[in-house]
């Protein structure tokens, strides 16, 4: 009698019987959406070729992910968007005029080695896109494919003057002659994205908008990007930089000669240049490769900031975002171990 109450067998399963409507794929596609404005800026500045670079990178990532999963005999999960995110982020770290085999190799390394050799989604130690970029940088630096930045053509035409690198990049200026920075660049150019650089790091404005969207959705923790960016801003003022004679000076000690506005300007220029916004909002915040707790994420962000500032000011590369995040990725287990929140009621 009782069994006649129901047409089908009742489903039994462990509690809770309700759950969030969030999902991994929703998170990943939200990241893609958050990156769309930056993608438009890249297309606007560099034209259709940049779009092609991004598409090649994404398509390679998806194909390699599917192939590796098929080979590993695990479910194929390319629709969750995580490979798309990796492909897009990798493209964003590339010069917009790279030959198309570069994103193919980078994406294949990112997905095939950096992600799946470690066990796939959730198991990788390093951010796949950054690992892919680091691989490309090591493999193709000698023939300057990876370190040559085209200056901008006019919007919409994509008129990239490939061989016409006439101006030192903002980060190079900030490293060698920060006090002369505002002779060649303005903060507004950096903010809106009218400065040479890799595809996705053009406009700080659109990256911040995308990042705020992810913070608002609860997909990234504000502590991490804030810790990262603020640390870079502060260290720029506190650490010795080269003055006009090539001597190291600490900016805040020369407040009278350098001027308050110039110091803040240089600090802001550091923050708005290069891949910092892209790295702080979209790469360092990669869930898989960042710490679990809020406190851990803050420490992680600050660590990224310290390493970025040191590499930028004293390192062999003009930009340190990529390596700083990769190094901090390596230290995540250590941060996690030491930032376990005090359990409810446990002794302090």
């Amino acid at each position: 009698m009782a069994d006649a109450l129901f047409e089908n067998k009742l489903i039994v399963g462990p509690s809770p019987h309700v759950g969030t409507c969030d999902s991994v794929s929703r998170i990943m596609w939200s990241v893609v959406i958050a990156l769309v404005p930056a993608f438009f800026v890249a297309a606007l500045n560099f034209g259709l070729y940049a779009v092609a670079v991004a598409l090649v990178s994404i398509i390679t990532a998806v194909i390699v992910e599917a192939a590796v999963q098929k080979f590993r005999g695990v479910p194929i999960t390319v629709s969750d968007g995580s490979a798309v995110v990796t492909g897009l982020l990798l493209a964003f770290t590339l010069p917009p005029d790279v030959p198309l085999y570069i994103p193919v190799i980078g994406s294949a390394f990112a997905i095939g080695i950096a992600k799946h050799a470690f066990g796939g989604l959730g198991c990788n130690i390093w951010n796949p896109a950054l690992a892919g970029r680091a691989f490309l940088l090591a493999a193709y630096s000698s023939n300057i494919v990876m370190t040559k930045w085209p200056i901008l053509g006019t919007p919409f035409t994509g008129n990239v003057a490939i061989d016409a690198v006439t101006k030192a990049t903002p980060l190079a200026v900030l490293k060698t002659a920060p006090l002369a920075f505002f002779k060649s660049y303005s903060l507004m150019e950096l903010f809106l994205g009218r400065i040479a650089g890799s595809m996705g790091e053009m406009s700080a404005l659109v990256l911040i908008i995308g990042g705020l969207f992810l913070i608002f959705k609860g997909y990234i923790n504000w502590r991490l990007p804030l810790g990262f960016i603020l640390t870079v801003a502060v260290l720029t003022v506190l650490l010795p930089v080269r003055d006009s004679h090539g001597e190291f000076i600490v900016l805040w000690r020369h407040l009278d000669t350098v001027g308050f506005n110039q110091i803040i300007g240089i600090s802001l220029a550091q923050v708005l240049s290069g891949g910092l916004m892209l790295g702080a909002f979209f790469m360092a915040t990669d869930m898989v490769t960042s710490p679990l707790s809020g406190r851990g994420q803050l420490i992680f962000g600050i660590g990224c900031g310290v390493l970025t500032a040191i590499i930028r000011l004293y390192g062999g590369y003009p930009e340190g975002v990529c390596y700083s995040i990769l190094i901090m990725n390596t230290a995540v287990w250590l941060i996690d171990k030491h930032t376990v929140p005090r359990f409810f009621g446990a002794r302090k």
Partner: protein
């Protein structure tokens, strides 16, 4: 408005389905089923035999030890079967089946009314014990045990739990609205037993009217106050409620009485009131029958032992129901058949048609489980250790201190069944611990 500090979630409340339906006494069921184990602690021992005639309120199984309670017939009739069956929790114990005679005749012992204020503490406690009262919020822990704190643990605060943070459930809400005086009187009785001067009634802001009813009913009592709390799951969990109301944290492995607090559910207070003032044992309880698979969601007064199928039929159950849950959707148990009876701990019956069809994926270390855990546990790391079989890490990671509220699992975007891992790990740990001791 107060609430507990860390973590917590806001699952859809779904209380509107049944919140306005007044408590309604159901018709006498034809057959009632009494598992001798429907509380935490030693199962009761059957003292009737097949063929015995029993009266309403008569003891049919007696307490078997201190942490145990007797079970009473909830109507008059004849014992037709006593046999081992499986309970909802998967325990096998004797089930006493009684066929109702339709008379609903009370036993002689249960006709007295009493003036409790003249009674001593121990006397009142013995009435509570003899009435078979257990915590009615779901855990079903014997109430007299909770009211017997050791002498070296002075209790200064009694908290009345009117939170009902599980989605869907509204029976505690109805009790506070309709049985206000009885609940408050039960609270006063418990205060006397514990000898405490202060009692706080906690109600969540989604039950503003119940809060007002309770507040207005206790305004003349110096020691009793009512507090409206911000809605957040799992505020009804003892540890969270204590922290929310008076800021004390119960240490891992300890009980509320270790921080000088006893928490009682409003349903329990009402049962205490009925037991002490009317000598009525715990033979019925308020149950919410609801869900999208129920055509007439309701709050019912149900004799203990009533088969769930009776209630489902009474309120109109959709045959396409996919999941049948005893309790709320966060901590309740999905049952494979409606043949189980309502027991002392059954607060709700949910028939759900729309259930999420989740495919658990890998952990992406998003940290959501960590940020929502009300106990500040590292669920992701716990489950990583559990998956790797690292039993020796469980204690350090507080796997054993998890209260299984389901918050982490609710929030997991990868839809991993984290709580389920933890439940299994606890059993695994006990086995491992025993093995370690044997080695020594």
């Amino acid at each position: 408005m107060k609430t507990f500090k860390d973590g917590g979630i806001h699952p859809p409340e779904m209380k509107q389905l049944s919140k306005d339906s007044k408590l309604e006494r159901i018709e006498l069921p034809k057959q009632l089923i009494f598992p001798v184990s429907q509380h935490i602690g030693a199962p009761a021992k059957a003292i009737v035999s097949v063929g015995d005639e029993v009266l309403k309120g008569q003891v049919i199984a007696e307490a078997n030890g201190f942490v145990s309670v007797p079970i009473h017939a909830s109507t008059s009739g004849k014992v037709v079967t006593i046999e081992p069956r499986t309970t909802v929790l998967g325990k096998i114990c004797d089930h006493i089946v009684i066929e109702s005679d339709g008379q609903d005749k009370w036993s002689e012992e249960n006709k007295r009314s009493r003036e409790w204020k003249d009674l001593g503490k121990d006397k009142i406690k013995s009435f509570i014990k003899d009435a078979g009262i257990v915590g009615m919020g779901g855990a079903a822990f014997p109430t007299h045990v909770k009211l017997s704190p050791p002498d070296d643990r002075p209790i200064d605060t009694l908290i009345l739990n009117g939170i009902e943070c599980e989605p869907y459930l509204t029976c505690d809400y109805r009790l506070m609205m309709e049985k206000t005086k009885g609940v408050i009187e039960g609270l006063r009785i418990i205060m006397k037993v514990l000898g405490v001067e202060r009692a706080i009634i906690g109600v969540e802001a989604n039950k503003q009217d119940a809060f007002e009813a309770m507040r207005d009913a206790c305004w003349a009592d110096d020691g009793i106050s009512a507090e409206l709390l911000k809605v957040k799951y799992p505020q009804g969990a003892e540890k969270q409620l204590i922290e929310a109301l008076i800021g004390r944290e119960v240490p891992p492995g300890k009980l509320p009485l270790d921080v000088g607090v006893v928490v009682q559910n409003v349903g329990t207070a009402y049962a205490v009131y009925e037991a002490v003032t009317q000598s009525k044992p715990l033979i019925e309880r308020a149950v919410t029958v609801t869900g999208d698979g129920i055509s007439k969601p309701a709050n019912l007064i149900v004799p203990i032992g009533t088969p769930i199928s009776d209630l489902l039929q009474r309120q109109g159950v959709n045959p396409k129901t996919k999941k049948l849950i005893l309790g709320g959707p966060m901590m309740g148990i999905a049952v494979p058949t409606p043949e189980f009876p309502v027991t002392k701990g059954t607060s709700g019956i949910l028939a759900l048609m729309k259930i999420p069809n989740y495919m658990p994926g890998p952990c992406i270390r998003c940290g959501k489980c960590v940020s929502v855990c009300p106990l500040r546990g590292m669920a992701a790391e716990m489950v990583a250790a559990i998956e790797a079989g690292q039993v020796e890490k469980y204690e350090h990671l507080h796997v054993l201190d998890c209260v299984e509220c389901g918050t982490c699992t609710f929030a997991c975007p990868s839809h991993r069944t984290l709580v389920h891992y933890v439940k299994q790990a606890k059993a695994e740990y006990q086995a491992w611990k025993a093995e370690q001791q044997n080695k020594k």
